[in-house]
Symmetry: C2
Subunit: 363 residues, 2 copies
């Protein structure tokens, strides 16, 4: 049942499930030995308003990697990097990623470029060029729409700008597999989707908001003579903000990415002849399905809490009463332990399949 | 499937399975939400010869606990403390243990007094009095025989000195549940055991070495008018040294300690009327069974490695060739991920039951 070894470089919080706490347990449940390097050691995630602890300096990180290298412990089959605070630490980790990539061309490296969300940066701008420098080392990246905009300098407002952004990532930054973890399903995007990829009309006319997940694999037989095989899936928004969802999703994409599942396997991806799937779309389908199921479970738990623990998001009230925010955050911590059967494929959940957007490149 | 919340305060290593890496995953598999505070962040365990990283200072630990307290995140049902380097950090953690104990008399606190093994201290002597001061806060302690000697100042050479040591822990330090995780089954101990608690003669006459696990619960109806209910189980030694075994064992004892499993449940333990079990003996039976099964699995893996990765322990050769030690240590990392079905009770394993040593106190 051993799936090999993953080196995970992420933030650590004592309480709750973000960064490594959201990624490592699922990876272990799925059979991976995980080497865990903590970029920070905090009490809880920053969403609580109050948080504290220490950041690992670039020197501390380099020392840990240096000893691991001397002890011949730096030979993972896979690499996962998430939130890394500050340029120096990020540079130290870029070195490691480059070393592992040079050492093993078959390394599967999932880079989650954690920069910000919904138009807000939450890292210092000096890390952006460093992330751009890391992109060519990656096998898969899992930015949200805002992080795509920041990395590519392309504002995504229509299909052609979306194409430009993906083209930039595939061709300029040589990223073989791009997963836009979420982008709001606005009118322009909805209307550009082929009907069978759109939410059912009735469902849609309700005031449910939707997000779209987009996977673009540039090394797949599906693509024909176009640039990449693009798959998408809409997901209904679950109200309220939940932390660690992206970290869980990225870990699950990496865990389920199986280049070897097809005879025509290549280093970075492949397709089963005769199917409309790619190695990437299969992995993202699994990750999306499980992440959404865990999120739904978490939402159910949160909804069952006493009223004072499930106050709606309201930043003004939060400022007046910090405890209000704290209680809400605590109530929304991911139910990973309670949902471990979902992660292990031992629970029946609604499958979210990523379907091929055949004419994405030639509407 | 939620079993409640455990605060685990232990060492962290990036590679391999000791401290928190040996304890947290099993606890999560068994349904506990685990809050993880890292006392050190090292590359790998010290057995590799080369290791590095940073220790959390008392100030860093206090800051993390301080913020958790402000955020009302310090209300676990259970507490697990393991290796803590240095007196200052230990004092900071004693404060937290005292706070949690005062806050919740039902807190189940498993204290693993990690001091040393086989006659060697591997902490600075100044922590010993601090550990003695922590003992009255605990629900269960899991020292090895050497740690019992250090804590009680009693050299264990016969049954009466063993009785004295246990008496000291129960009566002087008010520890309700003492588990001596392992003590070599020497002649004096073997011959003092009732026949049905001894290894079968044929088995014994072979050159197999045995360890004895001893559980002593001082708040149990079994004890009649004697001091405690004592249960034991012999375990055949698995050749070679494996790290993290004690950390795994302690975590499993805590995970399986269920005061509520009996109507006559007390805070610290209880017994099913009519059985010869205690809450403690049930938990230790489970922990011993699973720890031994994981260890056997690990030993099988290690035995299947290429010869250069399974060199026998030989400190002289290790000094001449450090890589030899490193390869051996790597080959002996616990197979926790591969053995997760064992932890989850989903694998058939040889049950190691802790049996009642009826006349322990009155031979």
């Amino acid at each position: 049942m051993s799936k090999g070894r993953i080196l995970s470089i992420q933030s650590h919080v004592a309480f709750g499930y973000v960064g490594g706490k959201a990624a490592v347990f699922p990876l272990q449940c799925l059979g991976y030995d995980v080497d865990v390097v903590n970029t920070v050691n905090f009490s809880n995630h920053s969403g609580y308003g109050r948080f504290g602890g220490s950041r690992a300096s670039a020197a501390e990180l380099s020392q840990i990697f240096g000893i691991m290298e001397q002890n011949v412990l730096l030979h993972p089959e896979r690499l996962l990097t998430g939130y890394i605070p500050g340029g120096e630490a990020l540079s130290a980790i870029t070195e490691i990623a480059r070393k592992l990539r040079n050492r093993n061309p078959h390394l599967v490296y999932l880079l989650d470029p954690v920069l910000g969300d919904a138009g807000k940066l939450y890292v210092s701008p000096d890390v952006i060029p460093i992330y751009r420098g890391m992109l060519p080392l990656s096998t898969i990246i899992t930015p949200n729409w805002f992080e795509v905009e920041v990395l590519t300098d392309v504002k995504i407002v229509d299909v052609s700008s979306l194409q430009r952004a993906l083209k930039t990532l595939h061709e300029e930054y040589h990223v073989p597999n791009v997963v836009i973890s979420s982008i709001p399903l606005r009118k322009w995007l909805l209307e550009s989707l082929p009907p069978h990829l759109q939410p059912p009309a009735g469902y849609r006319d309700s005031d449910t908001d939707f997000l779209l997940c987009i996977a673009s694999s540039s090394d797949s037989p599906l693509k024909g003579d176009s640039l990449s095989a693009v798959h998408t899936r809409y997901i209904p928004c679950i109200p309220g903000y939940f932390s660690g969802v992206g970290d869980l999703f990225s870990a699950l994409v990496l865990a389920h990415y199986e280049p070897s599942t097809s005879p025509s396997a290549s280093v970075n991806g492949s397709t089963d002849p005769g199917t409309e799937e790619t190695t990437l779309s299969r992995a993202v389908s699994q990750a999306l399905t499980k992440t959404h199921a865990i999120l739904s479970l978490t939402h159910e738990y949160a909804a069952a809490l006493p009223e004072e623990d499930r106050q709606p998001t309201d930043e003004e009230l939060d400022v007046k009463e910090p405890e209000r925010l704290v209680r809400r955050m605590k109530g929304r911590e991911l139910k990973l332990v309670q949902g471990q059967d979902i992660i292990r494929n031992e629970a029946a959940v609604d499958h979210k399949n990523m379907d091929w957007w055949v004419k994405f490149w030639k509407p």
